[in-house]
Symmetry: C2
Subunit: 332 residues, 2 copies
DNA sequence: TTGTAGGCGTTATCAA
DNA sequence: TTGATAACGCCTACAA
C-alpha cells in the first residue's frame, strides 16, 4: 500500500497525492477529493520512515530515563508524552539501568541511529554518570534538554528547585517552634539529594539556627532506610524536635519509628517530607510535604526542546527552574 | 555521514561496507578491518530509517498504555523496555488519556505509520474501550499482544490472575477465623476490578460463606475512595470482621477509617490489599496484600510478541496467565 | 569476495 | 496546477 497505489486509483501523480496529503503545495479541489477518496478506500497510511528519510525529520523525540518504576520519573515521562503528542511528536523510549558510559553511548547511538529530532535526558545525576556531557559525544547529538541536574553552561537544563523546596519545609518547621531540626537526606551521590540537603542548611541558617552534621543521616530513598536513619539519629541526638526527610517514602519509614519509640508526631517530633506522593495524604499522621510539578517538568522539557528543534524564538519565556510548593498537613 | 563516505575512506564498495557491518555476507578480513577503521574514524552511525525502509523491519515495538503515573502501568512498562532492549528492539511509546475510539485509531495509526514490527496493548479494559478489537482495524495491524484484559479467541492475551489472587487473600482472612468479610472493589467498569470481585466471591464460596452484595462497596482505586467506602460499609454492616480491598491505595484509606472509628487492625478488622506497592510494608499496620509480577508481565508480553514477529515456534512454553502471591504482614 | 544497478516509499525540483 | 525525475541512505540481486 504505497503512494503510487493511491495515485493510480485517484488518477493522479504520486507528487500530487503527496501534495494533497501534506498540503505543502496547492492542489486543485477535484484532485484533492479524488485523492481523499482513494486514501479512504485503500486504507492508505503514509510510511513515516520513508517520509523521514527524505525530510530529514522524524518527528520523534528520544527520551532516556531511569528508575521508571518510581513516582518521579514516571510522572515526568507522562508529562513529556502528553506535550510531545500535542505537538505531533512520537516518543522513542530508552531506560538506563546502570549508568556506566558503555550503556550511555549505546543508548544515545540507538536514538541517533533512528534519527530522533531531539533528546530529553531525564536521568538523575548520580556520581560521575554525567561526565560524558563534556566529551565529544555531545557534539554528535541533536538538540538535547537535560532534566534534574546541576546547571551547566551552554546546556539547556530544566529542574525543580529542590533547594528552595527543602528550605520552605525547614522554615515551616522553624515557624512551628522547632529548634533542633534533623535531616534524613537521600544518597549524597545524587545531585538532588545534595540540593535538598543544602536547602535544609539554608532554612536553618536563615532562622539563625546551626546546621550541625550530627543532625543529618543519609538514606537511600527507601522506607527501610528512613527507618534505620531515624533510629540512628535518635541515638545521636535524642533532643531533635523537628525532622526534614528528603522524600516521602523515607518519611513513611521515619513515621513508623516515631510510633515505635512513642514520639508523638507532630507534638514531640514534627516531620516534613518531599515529593507529595499520593499516599502521603493518608499516612498517619498525614504528611506535610513539598509538592513539585513533575508533569510540568516533562511538558516544559518538551517545549524547550521544540524551540531548539524548530528554531523558534520564544525560549526566554519558558522557565528553567520550577518552584515547588509546601503542602501543610498533620505531621508538621 | 553515509555508507558511501565510509566506503570511500575504506576503499571498498558500499555493499562491502554493508556486509561488513551487518555480517549478512562474508567479507575478507582485510576489508573488514579497513571498514571498521573508517567507521570509527568517521563516527559513522547507520541510518536505521533507511535500513528499516528496505528491510521492511523497524526493530521497533509500539506500546500503548494508560495511567503511566500509577504503579502498575509504569512497572509493566519497565519490564517491557528491559526485555525489548535485550532483544535489540526499541520502544515507541504512546499514552492514552481518554480511550474513545478516535484516540485509539489515531494512536494505532501513528504506530503503524512508523512501521512498528508489533504492538503491545497495555490499556486496562474499561467499559467498552476494547470494542475496536472486533472491528477491521485489527486486521491492518502488525502482531499484537494484549495485556490485562479478558481472554478473547484468536488473540494473544497475557494477564495476571486477578481472580486467583483475590481468592487467596480472602481464604487467608477465612483462615484467620473471619466470617463476615467485606469487599472494597475497584470501579466495576474495569475488567480487573470485576475479576478481583469474582475472586472475593470465590474465596468466600469455597469456605462455605455467603457473598452478600451488602458486604461490597465500589471505590475508584484512590485512597479517598477507600476511606469513603469503608465508612459506608461500616454503616451498613457494622459486624464485618474481615475486609478485602482491591488495591493497596484504597486499603490505606480504609486503614485510616479503622483507626478513626477505633477498630483495631487486625484484631477487630483484618484487612488485605492487592498490589504490594512499596509503601504497603510500612503502613501502620503493615499491609497483608497480593503481590503480582508486573515486570514479568511486561517481559512476557515482549517475548510473546517476538515469537509472533520472528515466527518462532516456542509459543506454548510461555505462560499467558501469571499467578500472584500472598504477602502476609500485620494487617491480617 | 567484490562492485554495480535497482529499488524500498516518500518528497523536492523543475519543466510543462 | 501537474507530472517526470532524482534524490534520501541503505540493502539485495546479480554480475564480475
Amino acid at each position: 500500500m504505497t503512494i503510487r497505489d493511491v495515485a493510480k486509483l485517484a488518477k493522479a501523480s504520486p507528487s500530487s497525492v503527496s501534495n494533497a496529503l501534506t498540503g505543502k503545495r496547492p492542489v486543485s479541489d477535484t484532485t484533492r477529493r479524488r485523492v481523499q477518496a482513494a486514501v479512504k478506500k485503500l486504507g492508505y497510511n503514509p510510511n513515516m520512515l520513508a517520509r523521514s528519510l527524505v525530510n530529514r525529520r522524524s518527528n520523534t523525540i528520544g527520551v532516556v530515563t531511569f528508575g521508571l518504576e518510581y513516582f518521579g520519573p514516571s510522572r515526568t515521562l507522562a508529562g513529556i508524552e502528553r506535550q510531545a503528542d500535542e505537538f505531533g511528536y512520537s516518543l522513542l523510549l530508552h531506560l538506563l539501568h546502570t549508568s556506566n558510559d558503555t550503556n550511555v553511548i549505546a543508548a544515545l547511538n540507538g536514538l541517533t541511529a533512528r534519527r530522533v529530532d531531539g533528546v530529553i535526558w531525564a536521568v538523575p545525576e548520580i556520581g560521575e554518570n554525567h561526565s560524558w556531557i563534556t566529551g565529544e559525544l555531545l557534539r554528535r547529538l541533536p538538540p538535547i534538554v537535560f532534566l534534574s541536574m546541576a546547571p551547566r553552561p551552554n546546556l539547556t537544563v530544566v529542574a525543580i528547585d529542590n533547594r528552595a523546596g527543602a528550605a520552605m519545609a525547614v522554615r515551616h518547621l522553624v515557624e512551628q517552634g522547632r529548634t533542633k531540626i534533623g535531616l534524613i537526606s537521600g544518597p549524597l551521590e545524587w545531585w538532588e539529594a545534595r540540593e535538598r540537603k543544602a536547602g535544609w542548611r539554608e532554612g536553618l541558617k536563615s532562622a539563625g539556627l546551626a546546621a550541625s552534621e550530627r543532625l543529618t543521616v543519609e538514606g537511600d530513598w527507601s522506607p527501610e532506610s528512613g527507618e534505620v536513619a531515624l533510629r540512628r539519629l535518635l541515638e545521636r541526638r535524642p533532643d531533635v524536635d523537628g525532622l526534614f526527610v528528603a522524600n516521602d517514602q523515607m518519611a513513611l519509614g521515619a513515621l513508623r519509628v516515631a510510633r515505635e519509640v512513642h514520639r508523638r508526631v507532630p507534638e514531640d517530633l514534627a516531620i516534613a517530607g518531599f515529593d507529595n506522593i499520593p499516599e502521603s495524604a493518608y499516612f498517619p499522621p498525614s504528611l506535610t510535604t513539598v509538592s513539585h510539578p513533575l508533569m510540568d517538568l516533562g511538558r516544559i522539557a518538551v517545549r524547550k526542546l521544540l524551540t531548539s528543534i524548530e528554531g523558534r524564538q520564544d525560549r526566554s519565556s519558558i522557565p528553567e527552574v520550577l518552584r515547588p510548593a509546601l503542602i501543610i498537613r498533620e505531621s508538621a
